[in-house]
Structures are given as structure tokens and as C-alpha cells.
């Protein structure tokens, strides 16, 4: 029973982390109808910000996530203005342009920061574990905190989209750009902000991650891919869908990894995603 609970919780933490990483991607997809292929590299860039703040100025990831989020907000805006904007509405062009961007960011990091793995030591949460039932179930604090952040960020995002004037404008733009424009929405500003906010969301994850994961130029690749699955499985720009899909993917990974075989865990993740998408072509919450 303890073991089952442990596997369940491990899956839940991973799932919520994936949800936090995927939230921004989902938002951007929902509003602009594009996939930001450089999403995983955004994560990596944000992790470097947090790592260097911790390494050089001893700022804890619990604080420096703010800086990572701000940095990725800017990176998002710049990406929109210089990489994405001109390609909008041209089929696969935005995806390929952001793929080019992902190569640039990854290899720039490789060139400037070397491929060394960088681990931040001496962080507040480092190695802290909550032990339940005489060690039958262990809850690692950094993962738990990240999971809580995930719920808060996703909640805020959902609240913003459904309960604020800005959110209504965003939704109107997502549904029909022309109509929104006629109604007086500054759609260009919406696009910029959405890209920035999408970046900032992954920035929160990126800021927290160095407290338990090594930073290196390749760290974003698999996270990025999983984020794509989360978003597509959840459905077109749906925040609750993304959350549900993320938790599902985390659990599949954890259970398949433990009860079938660890090498099988990503096969299961991608395989189940394919099954879901066959049954519901537009994802769980898609319309």
C-alpha cells in the first residue's frame, strides 16, 4: 500500500510539474494557433537564469523564479516580435521558425555556458523530505513546492482568462481575430502579452527546477516534447484540459515505469497519448 501511494504521489508531482511547464504553451497555442517549438529551450534558458543567480549571488530558487519568469516574459515578447509575427497564418511556418529558434538557443547555450551540468547546492529546499508512516511514503519538498506553484499558476491563469476584461479580450481574439479587432480589441497587444505570459509561466517552472535538477543545454528537450503531448491531449488552449492531461501523463509515467519497466515509461506516455488522440481527435477538452 505504501509503495502504491509512493508511486502515485511521485507521478502526481511529475504531472503537476509538466502542467506548469505546458501551461504557457497551451495558452499560446489557444490564442495564436501556433506551436512554439522552442518551448523546451525557453525552460532551459530560464533554468540558467535561476542557476546563475543562485551560483553568483546566492539567491535561492524560491526567490529567483521571479527573475526567470520576468526574463522569459521578455524572451517571449522578443520571440513574438522577431520570429513569429511575420510567419503567422502561413501553415507550418511558425512551427519551423520556432524550431530554428530552438536550435539557436540550445547551441548558443552550448557555446557560451559549455555543456557542463550545473547543480546548485545549498538551496533552502535541498534534500528536504517529508516522511510519512515511518518512511513508507516520502514526499520530497522541492517537488511538492513546485506542484503547489503549478496549481497556483494554473489557477491564476484560468481566473485571468475567464474572469477579467483582459481575459475576455484574449478569448475573443482566440475565437476570431477580425471580429475582436472590430470590437476594438488591440489584438496585436494581446498577441504580445500572450506570448510574454506564456513565457513567464514556463519561467516559474524554470526558476524552481534548479533546486533539484541539473541545468545543462539539453535539459529542455524532453520536457518540451512532453509539454506538446500535454497540450495536445488536453485540447486546444484549454487550461483545465492541460492540467488533467499533465497529471494523467505523470501518473502513466510513474505507474508504467514502476509496474512494467522503467525503459517503458515514455513508450507508455506517448502510446497512451496516441490512443487518446485517436478517440478524441481534439484532445480531452477540445472543441
Amino acid at each position: 500500500m505504501g509503495l502504491f501511494l509512493q508511486v502515485l504521489l511521485d507521478g502526481l508531482w511529475s504531472g503537476l510539474l509538466y502542467g506548469l511547464i505546458a501551461a504557457g504553451l497551451s495558452l499560446i497555442w489557444g490564442v495564436l494557433d501556433i506551436i512554439n517549438f522552442a518551448h523546451g529551450e525557453f525552460l532551459m534558458a530560464g533554468m540558467y537564469v535561476s542557476f546563475f543567480l543562485g551560483f553568483l549571488f546566492k539567491i535561492d530558487p524560491l526567490v529567483s523564479w521571479v527573475a526567470s519568469a520576468a526574463f522569459l516574459f521578455l524572451l517571449g515578447v522578443v520571440t513574438y516580435k522577431f520570429v513569429v509575427k511575420r510567419t503567422l497564418g502561413k501553415a507550418m511556418a511558425p512551427l519551423l521558425a520556432t524550431f530554428g529558434l530552438s536550435m539557436v538557443i540550445k547551441n548558443f547555450a552550448m557555446n557560451r555556458f559549455t555543456p557542463n551540468f550545473r547543480i546548485l547546492s545549498g538551496t533552502i529546499m535541498e534534500g528536504k523530505v517529508i516522511s510519512l508512516g515511518q518512511g513508507a511514503v516520502m514526499i520530497p519538498v522541492p517537488n511538492l513546492v513546485t506542484a503547489l506553484f503549478s496549481l497556483v499558476v494554473l489557477g491564476l491563469l484560468y481566473w485571468m482568462l475567464t474572469r477579467t476584461r483582459f481575459g475576455w479580450a484574449v478569448q475573443a481574439t482566440a475565437m476570431d481575430v477580425e471580429a475582436a479587432r472590430l470590437m476594438g480589441v488591440n489584438t496585436e497587444r494581446i498577441f504580445i502579452l500572450v506570448f510574454g505570459i506564456g513565457g513567464a509561466c514556463v519561467g516559474v517552472a524554470a526558476g524552481l527546477l534548479p533546486s533539484y535538477l541539473a541545468t545543462h543545454p539539453d535539459v529542455g528537450s524532453l520536457f518540451g516534447l512532453i509539454a506538446f503531448m500535454v497540450v495536445a491531449m488536453g485540447g486546444f488552449g484549454s487550461i483545465p484540459g492541460a492540467l488533467l492531461a499533465a497529471i494523467l501523463i505523470g501518473l502513466i509515467e510513474s505507474f508504467a515505469g514502476f509496474y512494467i519497466a522503467p525503459v517503458f515509461k515514455y513508450v507508455a506516455v506517448f502510446g497512451v497519448y496516441l490512443l487518446v488522440i485517436m478517440i478524441r481527435p481534439k484532445g480531452l477538452f477540445g472543441w
Partner: protein
């Protein structure tokens, strides 16, 4: 009619013949140059294979490394485990890839836009990871060729690249001739019609799904042949080499850079990207790691900004501009309506 199509084929046949004479001229003496030429021909063929489904039928698949990989594994398995020549393996690989293409295509073709793209990513990941743990084909270690006698029998040449050059040229000739024929055939018109509007095409009585599946199968079989060549060329295959997202992206990027849905786009794309990739890796190493890939990424971004139809698009635009200028010149002042 008959003689017309023969007449049109003459320049194409001539250019193939000219290419075939290249090794005789001694221009290929430097092995690196011939390596680059072989790679251009191979990558152009890969991109053209993808172009059938991605360009003409408009289904942008990021899953072609799966078919490529199956072809590569087919040839390698025949050589290493069955101790045969690679040909039956390559053929089996091509057939298998075509069958798999139909199995994959049947459910995924109903997915729209990004959903289709992401589903093909996931398929690559599933196959990659399955091959990683499938011990009969070497698992993560892959299959390594023993040292074989040079020649066509083993499709292996270690001392000179001329054999590979002709092998690649044959592959290139077959795939490009096929697509050339496709452009003029009814099948090709149907595919284009489906790309421009599936509903419209269907209302005219075109069974869109059947044609798309046929195109996918054809495209997959051709990609598998390219994969078999790749395994023969490298004397080795492992999952990361052939069954990866990077490899899938290569099919797409070359075609898009050159010009998607055009006959010569894949060749142009390969002729630009491959030398860039090979020479920057070889000669930009001094600037530190990764600079070549940064440049590569920047080129992709730039092309996407200004001409998503690739180089063929640029050529077309330039041609149109010239024609327009000429027309304006002819009609003097009153040319513009």
C-alpha cells in the same frame, strides 16, 4: 502525346547523364567532396520522398524517420543477422514501411493541423524507444556491419565513394522521376486538389482518404529505400541514428527550405543545406562548439520570415517581378490597371 512526353523528358535524362559522368572527370577525387555530393543526392531523395505526402498531398508529417529507420534496419538486419546481401532486406523494409504508413495514416489523417503534427512526433518517440529495447535488432547498441568485400553485391565501397555516388544517383533518379511523372499524372492532380481543399475534392468524387493513404505508402516506401542506403553508407544502424526527431526534421526542413510541393525544391534545399552543414562542422570548429547549428537555425528563421515557400518561392517571385516589369515596359504608360 507520347512523343511530347518523351521530348519533355530529354533535358531531365540529359542532366542525369551529366551527373553520371561526374566521377569520370576526376572532379570527385577528393573524398570529402564526393561525400558531400552523395549526401546531397541522398538528402534530396529523402526530401522528395517526403514531398509526396508533405508537399503534394499537404499532410505535414514529422514521422518520416520511422519509415527511414525501418528501411535502414531492413538492410542492416539482412546483412548482419541473416548474412545476406542488403537488397532483400531493403525491399522488405520498403514494403513494411508502406504497410505501416497505411496503418499509421488511417487513424491519424483525421487529425487536423497541429494535432496531426504532434501525433507524428509521438509516433517517432514510440518507435525510437521500442527499437531501443528490442533486443533482436540490437536494442540500444544497434547493428554493426562486419567488414565486407567492396562491390555492388554487398553495396559497400570503402576505398572510393564512386560506387556510393552511383547508388545515390540511381535512388535520386528513381524518386525524382517518380515525382516528375506524378506531377503530370491524374494521381498528382488529385493530391493537389485534396491539399487545396479536401471537402471540395471529395464533393467532386475524389476519395481523399484513399489517395492520401496511397501517397503516404509511396512516400514511406521511398523513405525506407533512402534509409537502407544510409545504413549501407554508414555500416551501422542504431535507433538514435535513424529513428529520431532530428532525422524527421531533416526531411521537412530540406523540402521547406527548397520549396514545398515543387519538383526541384528538395534538390535545391539539399544542395544548400548539406554543404552548409558539412563544411561548417568541418571548418567552423574553431569558433567553439555549436556555431554551425546556430547559423543553421538562423537561416531557418530568416527563410520562414521572408519566404515560407522556400527558395523556389523566391525564384518564382523574382521571375514574376521580371515578367511584370517586362509587361509594364511593353505596354508603356498604360500597363497597370
Amino acid at each position: 502525346m507520347q512523343s511530347d512526353s518523351i521530348k519533355r523528358a530529354i533535358p531531365w535524362m540529359l542532366s542525369l547523364a551529366v551527373l553520371a559522368l561526374l566521377p569520370v572527370t576526376g572532379l570527385l577525387r577528393g573524398s570529402f567532396l564526393s561525400h558531400v555530393l552523395v549526401m546531397i543526392l541522398l538528402n534530396a531523395s529523402m526530401a522528395q520522398a517526403w514531398n509526396i505526402i508533405g508537399g503534394y498531398a499537404g499532410q505535414v508529417s514529422f514521422g518520416h524517420s520511422v519509415f527511414f529507420g525501418i528501411g535502414a534496419y531492413g538492410a542492416a538486419y539482412a546483412v548482419t543477422n541473416l548474412k545476406m546481401t542488403p537488397y532483400p532486406g531493403a525491399l522488405a523494409g520498403a514494403v513494411l514501411a508502406a504497410v505501416l504508413a497505411v496503418i499509421i495514416g488511417y487513424p491519424t489523417f483525421k487529425l487536423k493541423g497541429h494535432y496531426f503534427a504532434i501525433a507524428t512526433f509521438a509516433i517517432v518517440e514510440v518507435f525510437h524507444r521500442l527499437f531501443m529495447i528490442w533486443e533482436d535488432v540490437g536494442g540500444a547498441v544497434g547493428l554493426d556491419y562486419p567488414i565486407l568485400k567492396d562491390g555492388w553485391r554487398n553495396f559497400s565501397w570503402s576505398r572510393s565513394k564512386v560506387g556510393y555516388f552511383y547508388g545515390a544517383l540511381i535512388l535520386f533518379g528513381i524518386i525524382f522521376s517518380l515525382v516528375r511523372a506524378l506531377e503530370k499524372a491524374r494521381f498528382g492532380y488529385y493530391l493537389k486538389a485534396i491539399r487545396e481543399g479536401q471537402e471540395t475534392a471529395e464533393s467532386l468524387g475524389v476519395d481523399a482518404r484513399r489517395y492520401k493513404l496511397a501517397a503516404m505508402a509511396l512516400s514511406a516506401a521511398m523513405a525506407a529505400m533512402c534509409g537502407a542506403f544510409f545504413a549501407q553508407y554508414n555500416y551501422r544502424v542504431d535507433p538514435s541514428m535513424v529513428l529520431s526527431l532530428d532525422m524527421s526534421m531533416r526531411f521537412v526542413l530540406i523540402t521547406i527550405l527548397g520549396g514545398i510541393g515543387t519538383l526541384w525544391g528538395p534538390l535545391l534545399g539539399a544542395a544548400i543545406l548539406i554543404p552548409l552543414q558539412e563544411y561548417t562542422r568541418a571548418y567552423l570548429a574553431k569558433l567553439g562548439p555549436g556555431v554551425d547549428l546556430v547559423i543553421f537555425g538562423l537561416i531557418i528563421i530568416l527563410v520562414m520570415q521572408f519566404q515560407p515557400k522556400g527558395i523556389m518561392g523566391m525564384i518564382d517571385a523574382a521571375r514574376k517581378r521580371r515578367r511584370k516589369l517586362a509587361a509594364a515596359g511593353n505596354e508603356h504608360e498604360g500597363g497597370r490597371q
